[in-house]
């Protein structure tokens, strides 16, 4: 190895929940100045491992060493004192507090026992500047869109001036541009000698950024090596243990079906005066920087927020849909981006979540048909490879598996239009591929798919065309051939839209 | 407050809680009295506040009455101590303050009007001891804890009970002065104690609850004291029990208004107007029940009153 003492190290560490082992004798060492990737499928135990390294959980066996010395009981405070900072996914923010207060939470500078707001402002501003956070520092975090909150979370970690920075899927809700800012930042930090542990399901990112990789599979380390000579395919092989095959299904242009959505002068939330139409069998991508109205566009179509249009026809209905009930009845389904807050009822069981939209469809003698429901749930779980007992609370699933549940629950309704808001966020490559295949199959079966995504390659490879949003309007519509990553990002940034428009 | 203020007067009634039926009936006697006095050109207006059971709010409302410079304030107190200071303030402003039924501790006001709670307790206890010939097991039913009326009645009974060692107090209850909780409590006691010889119930609708508990559990009725609640009087007659009741006449309210006006006119009024307890027993109950239909089903059948009675009461010293 490179000879330095690891700043933080886990040796033979293991952890289980309710008797189910999640990590089995895992070793990992974080060295200064090294960008260390942690890879694994959904549920492999990555988040669990970092929770152990940051003191949020206690290991069942093995030990954690800081600067080579074993610590007996690592707490969040202890980890922070040791210089470990973790970026959770928007998890540790308090909505009512300002950006600055959130950044400083638990580690704010004090004077005479009180928060020193002046020092906090300066240091929080510095941390925000590093991640490109331009919102006023006094703004409550609750007012920020998801992607920006993620940046706050990262700034919060930087604020602690960490020696070890752990990033758990930091880019999953970031657009390409913001992800680029982050990559640059990570490199700078590493150059300053910070040890970085980087978890992501976006393998191209990992390859471009990281020096070293540890791969977890079913709770054991299957690879622990330098990334220098590993190709993207090689990475996937390390993770899933077999040949990856093509990531994206072969593109097939849509056969011109009937118009399922046609709106003119459509406004909702942050969206103004958009004209849009789409046909059965299409996959239409929706792109742009984070928070340019893309989400409000989907929500408005879905009837979940108030919307107006000069003319509208949706699934044969001659006007905008009045509410979610009307939308689902008309054949629309919406899969939200923030699965924890909007997509799932976390404390309820997987089965209950899967049944929620189709309640009342399986009835016998006026009562719910338990057996029928159980069969349906089992069928859905099999279709999406959700393993294990469906009687568990959905919050016990790893993020990727939660995403599958959020998608699968709509299938029994047989929707004709799928409004998907970043459906592969936090999903591992294997599952991503399954989802892509599924989307392709849906489109082939004559469904219309609106795919809002922060993962630009998805837009490039899957979509018949991509509508790029900027400041609440569609600034470009790029047809499949023209929609390269550069073109999409360029349009999103407001560059040369005219020339690129198809 | 010697005649500084000129008729017609504005009168305020600072009620602690206007929803219970007893209060509604009392309000009735007050408004009747005010109507009469209006005709005589003595009263201009009546303002009623309802503190919703909150003594703190009552202070605030009395303060508002002072601010509005009313001529007289009638107080039904929500606490025997809490209003002392604000009442004293009112008096220094020359406002006539009359307190009735639920009394305050202070003497710095125009007049207090009430029956004697101690006497209530002692006479009820005496009657029950007589009924039992000085020997037997009894249960005592009190009003809510921490309320002075309830406390005073219980205190009044104590010397009588102490003087009659043959009387054994099995247990006591504290409930709101209502039927349902009284019935619940008495039912539990009936199961725990197969032998109860008498019930010393000290007010409100407690006795009705007790009688119903005996009835529903198929137990023979025992001598029971009580108040003039219509339901109790009707049960008393229907179940043919040995009963005794007294009352807190609702016209204490009317008397208070009358007293306030007299005081404002410069007449000397006694600082404490003791209203003799009207007693209901087997000899008088029929008279009361005959009037029953004029009273609410969950109300209190009070004795009749007139100005002559008021004048007589005001004349005592």
């Amino acid at each position: 190895m490179d000879g330095t003492t690891p700043l933080v190290e886990a040796r033979g560490i293991s952890k289980g929940f309710f008797g189910n082992p999640v990590l089995k004798a895992v070793d990992i060492a974080l060295h200064p100045g090294r960008i260390h990737a942690l890879l694994g499928e959904n549920g492999a135990g990555k988040s669990t491992l970092i929770n152990l390294l940051s003191g949020a959980l206690q290991p069942d066996g093995g030990d954690i060493r800081v600067d080579g010395k074993p610590v007996t009981r690592l707490t969040p405070q202890g980890a922070r004192a040791a210089g470990v900072a973790v970026v959770q996914q928007e998890l540790s923010l308090a909505a009512e507090l300002s950006i600055a207060e959130n950044i400083g939470l638990g580690a704010a500078p004090r004077r005479f026992g009180l928060l020193d707001y002046r020092a906090l402002r300066d240091r929080a501003a510095a941390a925000s500047a590093l991640v490109g956070l331009t919102e006023p520092l006094e703004m409550p975090v609750g007012d920020l869109p998801l992607g920006r909150r993620q940046m706050v979370e990262i700034a919060k970690a930087l604020f602690r001036e960490p020696r070890v920075l752990i990033l758990d899927e930091p880019t999953s809700s970031l657009s390409a541009h913001e992800a680029g800012v982050l990559s640059g930042l990570v490199r700078t930090l590493a150059a300053r000698g910070v040890a970085v542990l980087y978890i992501s399901h976006r393998l191209n990112e990992v390859q471009a950024l990281c020096d070293y990789v540890t791969v977890l599979k079913d709770g054991v380390v299957t690879a622990d090596r330098s990334l220098a000579d590993v190709s993207a395919e090689g990475l996937v092989r390390l993770m899933v243990g077999r040949d990856p095959g093509d990531m994206f299904p072969a593109f097939k242009p849509a056969a011109a079906g009937e118009h399922l959505i046609r709106v003119d002068g459509f406004s909702a939330g942050a969206v103004y005066d958009v004209a849009f139409s789409a046909r059965a069998g299409e996959i239409v991508g929706i792109g742009g920087l984070i928070g340019q109205g893309q989400e409000d566009f989907l929500l408005g179509l879905y009837g979940a927020i108030p919307a107006v249009a000069s003319s509208a026809a949706i699934c044969g209905v001659g006007h905008l849909l009045a509410g979610v009930g009307a939308a689902t009845a008309a054949g629309l389904a919406y899969v939200p981006a923030d699965r924890k807050k909007e997509g799932l009822v976390l404390p309820h069981t997987i089965a209950a979540n899967l049944m929620l939209p189709s309640l009342g469809r399986l009835m016998r003698h006026g009562l719910r048909d338990r057996r029928g429901e159980a069969a349906l749930v089992a069928d859905l779980a099999r279709q999406l490879a959700i393993r294990g007992d469906t009687g568990r609370p959905v919050q016990a699933l790893s993020g990727g598996n939660q995403q599958k549940v959020a998608l699968a629950k709509w299938l029994p309704l047989g929707p004709r239009v799928l409004l998907l808001n970043d459906p592969t966020r936090g999903v591992d490559v294997g599952t991503k591929r399954e989802i892509y295949l599924m989307l392709r199959a849906f489109a082939d079966a004559g469904k219309l798919i609106l795919l809002l995504s922060s993962d630009t390659p998805e837009l490039v490879h899957l979509c018949d065309r991509v509508a790029v949003f900027r400041e609440g309007r569609v600034v470009a519509t790029l047809a499949h051939g023209n929609a390269s990553e550069e073109a999409i990002v360029g349009a999103a940034m407001g560059l040369a839209t005219k020339e690129l428009a198809a | 407050i010697k005649g500084d203020r000129k008729a017609p007067f504005t009168v305020g009634w600072a009620n602690i809680y206007s929803v219970p039926t007893w209060m509604k009936q009392t309000e009735g006697t007050i408004t009747d009295e005010v109507a009469t006095l209006k005709k005589a050109g003595l009263v201009k207006d009546l303002m009623i506040t309802d503190a919703q059971g909150n003594a703190q709010t009552q202070i605030q409302q009395i303060q508002s009455m002072i601010d509005a410079n009313l001529d007289a304030i009638i107080v039904e107190a929500g606490s025997s101590t809490a209003l002392n200071r604000v009442i004293a303030d009112a008096c220094t402003k020359g406002i006539a303050v009359i307190n009735f039924d639920s009394l305050v501790d202070t003497d710095k006001l125009t007049a207090k009007i009430n029956t004697d709670s101690n006497e209530w307790g002692s006479r009820a206890a005496t009657w029950l001891v007589d009924q039992l010939h000085g020997k037997g097991k009894i249960v005592i039913m009190n009003g809510p804890a921490g309320v002075s009326v309830s406390d005073d009645r219980r205190k009044g009974a104590q010397p009588v009970l102490a003087a009659n060692p043959g009387i054994e107090v099995i247990t006591e209850t504290n409930t709101e002065y209502n039927v349902a909780p009284a019935q619940e409590a008495m039912t539990s006691l009936l199961f725990a104690h197969p032998d109860i010889d008498g019930v010393l119930s000290l007010g409100g609708a407690l006795s009705a609850g007790s009688v119903m508990a005996f009835d529903r559990q198929g137990r023979a009725q025992v001598p029971t004291t009580g108040e003039n609640a219509r339901q109790f009087l009707e049960l008393w007659k229907a179940k043919k029990l040995k009963g005794w009741a007294t009352m807190q006449p609702n016209w204490l309210g009317a008397l208070s208004v009358y007293t306030a006006v007299k005081a404002l006119q410069g007449q000397d009024v006694p600082a404490f107007i003791k209203v003799p307890l009207p007693v209901i027993d087997d000899s008088t109950i029929d008279g009361y029940l005959a009037k029953a239909k004029d009273f609410p089903a969950d109300g209190y059948i009070y004795s009749s009153y007139d100005q002559a009675l008021f004048d007589k009461l005001l004349a005592q010293h």
Binding site: V345, P347 | Q183, Q217
Partner: protein, 316 residues
């Protein structure tokens, strides 16, 4: 291993724990207190529990959906006072009066829901304001005329004992069956729980928030009304304040039964023993001869002790 996991499962089942607690308290009290274990006494405890249980049925639904109903006490009082006033003389069965009164109670519940759905007023404020409003109404209607209950149906409710089982308990069993079915075997229940646990996700999944809210609060009003009739039947007389004790007890029964006060988790199955537990505790305190201060302390401590055993909530 298997046995251990089953017993662990039992320990994590709040309704069962609460039920076991009831059994425990009854056995201990029955062995140590004279008259406690008499059939008549236990039956009486159940009869009283029926009232709380029925009020708490509505309260359970409301709390499951993430709200709270502070107007149940006022609704009980209003129904108890209104029934004699609106029962028509020409209907000897009294059923019409009962139906009318229950309809009014349900409409009050609907009004509670309307404030939340249309005015976006939080449940606690809306129902608190409704309680205040009903108090005003009571000042108007109570004590106005000489009425006592002559309604046959209500008298039957309060005193009949078909096969030795008090009518109140029979009504409770029916309510319990209906509510348990609604929660566990009808889509309504699943929607309710989803709405209580995550309103946003439930709405985006097609749960009709307004309709569910209307249904829940109307049912809460209806059940409170039913309880009001039962109380009226047992006391033969409605009076102002008759419903007051049922506000806090209904909430306490729900929480003692293991339902989360934050909504989204729990069942009426726990509320049932919760109600019995509360009544039993009150009955026990009544027969102890102690000063009011000590009684109050004992009651509070008992609730706390029961909670320690039954209500452990693995918070978030």
């Amino acid at each position: 291993m298997k046995a251990a996991s089953i017993s662990r499962g039992l320990l994590r089942n709040p309704p069962l724990i609460t039920l076991a607690l009831v059994a425990l308290v009854w056995i201990v009290a029955g062995l140590s207190l004279r008259g406690f274990a008499a059939v008549g006494h236990l039956r009486y405890i159940l009869e009283l529990s029926a009232i709380i249980g029925i009020v708490a049925a509505g309260q359970t639904l409301v709390i499951l959906v993430g709200g709270i109903d502070l107007s149940v006490g006022a609704v009980i009082t209003v129904t108890a006072i209104l029934l004699p006033l609106i029962s028509p003389d020409w209907d000897p069965t009294g059923l019409l009066g009962v139906v009318l009164t229950l309809a009014i109670a349900a409409v009050i519940g609907l009004a509670n829901a309307m404030g939340q759905v249309f005015l976006k007023v939080p449940a606690i404020i809306m129902t608190l304001a409704m309680a205040t409003f009903l108090q005003g109404l009571l000042v108007l209607i109570a004590g106005g005329s000489a009425v006592s209950v002559t309604n046959e149906a209500v008298i039957w409710l309060g005193s009949a004992r078909p096969f030795g089982v008090p009518a109140g308990i029979i009504v409770w069993i029916a309510v319990a069956a209906a509510v348990l079915t609604a929660i566990h075997r009808r889509p309504f229940g699943a929607r309710l729980l989803a709405l209580g646990a995550n309103p946003l996700a439930a709405r985006l999944s097609g749960v009709d928030v307004s309709r569910t809210t209307f249904a829940v609060y109307a049912l809460a009003g209806l059940f409170s009304g039913l309880a009001g009739l039962l109380v009226l039947g047992m006391n033969r007389q409605g009076y102002v304040g008759i419903g007051d004790p049922y506000l806090m007890t209904s909430i306490a029964a729900v929480v003692l039964g293991g339902t989360s006060i934050l909504g989204g988790r729990g069942s009426y199955a726990g509320t049932i023993p919760g109600a019995i537990l509360l009544v039993t505790t009150t009955a026990l305190i009544t027969v102890v001869n102690a000063s009011p201060g000590w009684r109050s302390i004992m009651f509070g401590s008992l609730i706390l002790a029961l909670l320690l055993i039954s209500g452990r909530e693995a918070q978030r």
